[in-house]
């Protein structure tokens, strides 16, 4: 991390001023600080020096201005569900907890958008939107905050149809390193006026500013939803079905792959009796007639490739049951070897390379003697391999780390990316140069330097030391 040192004096001065201003809403308790660092995966916890709970944009601005004046790092915190060490404070500093800023500011049903504070979580947002007939479609595994999802450019199972946070965020308000409030865009659906600051902030992981408000595009709750499960003789056949489905323009809303290892795990964990062969789980959104047509067409594609039968239903309870396997996949995978943990991988490749990438990965798993179920958002070419390891077995951890390195290299060699949806944080910084090349990385670093010359915004993440 470039030999950067902690600015002890600046951090102490900032915390002193923040205590004076915020009183008990600033905490330096060890447990709270630890909880506001990274806690979810193998990446070691690096707690901030203090946590301050903000209640408004004006307060966030005050906090950032104090920290900027003292040269004290700030790390935005929402739900704490990020996976790559985004919340760690390698140079110390202050965690700005915006979880109490969780209000809906305005709903515009005619424009299909909603203005929210950054601390609102996706499930609460959808509960509060229910009466409008609209919903927010992006669904990462965790019940993350909207601010965090924008910051990490999150996606999930619906992205194949509804896009990612890149497509769903219309505008962002953020406090920048200079303590100014930037509004990245108007609320109009499109614009050609100037640099796309919205997309620059989406995926910037807190390194360019603290998000204080978001305008989010919504979708109409579909009249009808059809869902089903389809078995395939091989991952290749399943991947070919995905390609054909998308190529023929069937607007599939979800198309998820479970490999046979994952299916076995789900059968054990969730007491199911699914065929232990690669499965696609699908969902179609539309009118009754249209989801029936989509389902029938997909069934024909599957049959042509030796898959099926494709059993589908529009009944909500039955769909929920069908999706149990997918929802429990992570915990089912872990239960294959009790006491084990996993690395959360999320490479993404062009879908033409998906079958090849998964096949080579499975061969690698086998050669290494690993247990590693695979589950993926295959409509986007994105899949998760969950290699299990025992946390006390350092040689197994090393083996799994090397496996993950090869997985990323394999994806990059196929024109893919190291991360389809989890982000860079600390965990994937080492892959960035191989993925983007030196010139692109230099451009990113120049942008970071231009917008945060003192390096106080979530330092040690993406390109920033």
């Amino acid at each position: 991390m470039g030999g950067r040192m902690r600015n002890e004096a600046g951090i102490a001065a900032a915390i002193g001023r923040l205590v004076e201003r915020f009183g008990e809403r600033l905490s330096t308790s060890a447990s709270l600080r630890e909880q506001h660092g990274h806690t979810l995966t193998w990446i070691a916890n690096q707690p901030p020096d203090a946590v301050v709970f903000a209640r408004s944009e004006a307060e966030v601005q005050e906090i950032v201005r104090i920290c900027a004046a003292e040269g004290c790092p700030v790390v935005p915190f929402g739900a704490g569900t990020s996976l790559e060490g985004h919340l760690n404070a390698p140079y110390g500093g202050v965690s700005i907890d915006v979880s109490a800023m969780d209000a809906i500011v305005a709903v515009h049903p005619e424009d299909l958008d909603v203005v929210v504070q950054p601390g609102i979580r996706r499930k609460a947002l959808n509960e509060q939107l229910r009466d409008t007939g609209l919903f927010f479609p992006i669904d990462p595994g965790a019940d993350a905050t909207l601010g965090g999802m924008a910051a990490t450019r999150a996606s999930g199972t619906n992205a194949v149809r509804y896009g990612t946070m890149k497509d769903t965020v219309l505008s962002i308000r953020a406090v920048t390193a200079s303590g100014e409030i930037v509004t990245t865009s108007r609320r109009a659906k499109k614009s050609s006026t100037g640099y796309d600051l919205t997309r620059l902030f989406v995926g910037s992981e807190g390194t360019l500013g603290v998000i204080t408000e978001l305008t989010i595009r919504l979708s109409g709750i579909p009249e009808a939803i059809a869902g089903g499960i389809c078995p395939f003789p091989s991952v290749q056949a399943a991947a070919d079905a995905v390609i054909l489905t998308i190529q023929t323009g069937i607007p599939v809303a979800r198309i998820e792959l479970l490999d046979e290892v994952q299916v076995k795990a789900c059968n054990l964990y969730s007491k199911l009796d699914l065929p232990e062969t690669p499965l696609l789980l699908l969902e179609f959104h539309g009118t009754d007639a249209w989801v029936a047509e989509q389902s029938t067409r997909f069934g024909e594609i599957a049959a042509d490739l030796g898959g099926g039968p494709f059993t589908w239903t529009t009944k909500a309870e039955e769909r929920t049951k069908l999706w149990t396997a997918r929802h429990d996949a992570y915990w089912a995978g872990l239960a294959l070897r009790p006491g084990c943990q996993t690395f959360s991988t999320d490479v993404c490749v062009p879908i033409s390379r998906l079958a090849e990438c998964i096949a080579e990965t499975k061969a690698d798993i086998e050669a290494d003697g690993l247990v590693a179920p695979i589950v993926g958002h295959v409509g986007d070419g994105n899949f998760h391999v969950l290699p299990l390891f025992h946390p006390d077995d350092t040689s197994e951890i090393d083996k799994v780390k090397r496996f993950v390195g090869r997985l990323v290299e394999r994806a990059l060699a196929m024109e893919g990316t190291a991360s389809g949806e989890h982000g860079v944080g600390q965990g994937k910084m080492k892959y960035l140069e191989a993925e983007h090349g030196r010139a692109a990385l230099d451009a990113m670093a120049a942008i970071k330097q231009a917008l945060d010359p003192k390096g106080i915004m979530n330092p040690g993440k993406i390109v920033a030391s």
Copy 2:
């Protein structure tokens, strides 16, 4: 423009070196220079000092490196169809004409993408793609180059369904001001690794680099297309139909408004007998059954609002005839007052404000005694008012300029944008601060300064002097 001066010595030195390297592929002829400046609208022509015709990315890189070393501005040139003075050279310099770089580099039908050189035009691209069953959906009025369309964040009539260049460009290769080649993204459909350089280059209007290659997302050619025209008693009723159509999730592919003035113009110009009342022109893409269902549903919405009858057809010839009015709208508008010219406006507002914005604009047109047909991509809240003026009548020109200023102010007051699809260029720089605020503009200027510290990339556009 901040008092910046022409760098006479640097420009002369660069041209000298470029002549030596490129011989007859560099021209300083007055007519060619003029043709490579802005020619299409009221903005005065400011020709470059020389035009150089590049045949490859390596040549673009050589040209930029020579110009960078000498401090000579460069202006990328594709088809010359931009509308806001993007191609002018207010500080002189060299126009880099990439129109001969018009090859398809690779088609990936399984991934629904294509890699192209920047000089390929949209119609040629679609002709060459036809056998693949795929098409490129973005259709601005002009037969623009893909590089130019990306640079101006273009859209058009299909954007309501297929998005704009922001959504369609997967990756860009560009020569930056330092003469490096940046690749903005991998070919995977999504990624969370680092700042979104792709979206930063889309809409950057040549101010951050010269685009040398693009990877573009394609769509499957729909099995069936239904199109039709629907009259409405008022613009308000038409706008309400647009809102309801989108709110209920009908994935309309095109939904265009012609106001009664535009319809009258089209009837005169194209010898049609359309009802001289606000019209919506629509297109639905899908399967036979699905486009029929969409058309029927739209017809019901229209009828509920006092509009209709909605007559639609899936026959290609009949659809083409229905769309004649839309295709000829620009020329039909001009023909209302022979010898006149028009300002090309393109404000965009949240669709909930569309009817109000158009109504106030029409009242303004009437109060001013202007002739100004309206035609728009109303599914996105984007519309064009074409106020006619006689080029010799300076008081009329002033009146029209003031009208356009009020139009932009009105759109901004309704949370809209000064430009939905034409871009900033020179023509709209004056509106940027009102639209984005000082902090956002400062951020844009900081990014420009970071990536082009000498200011050689298309200076005098967007935020750059």
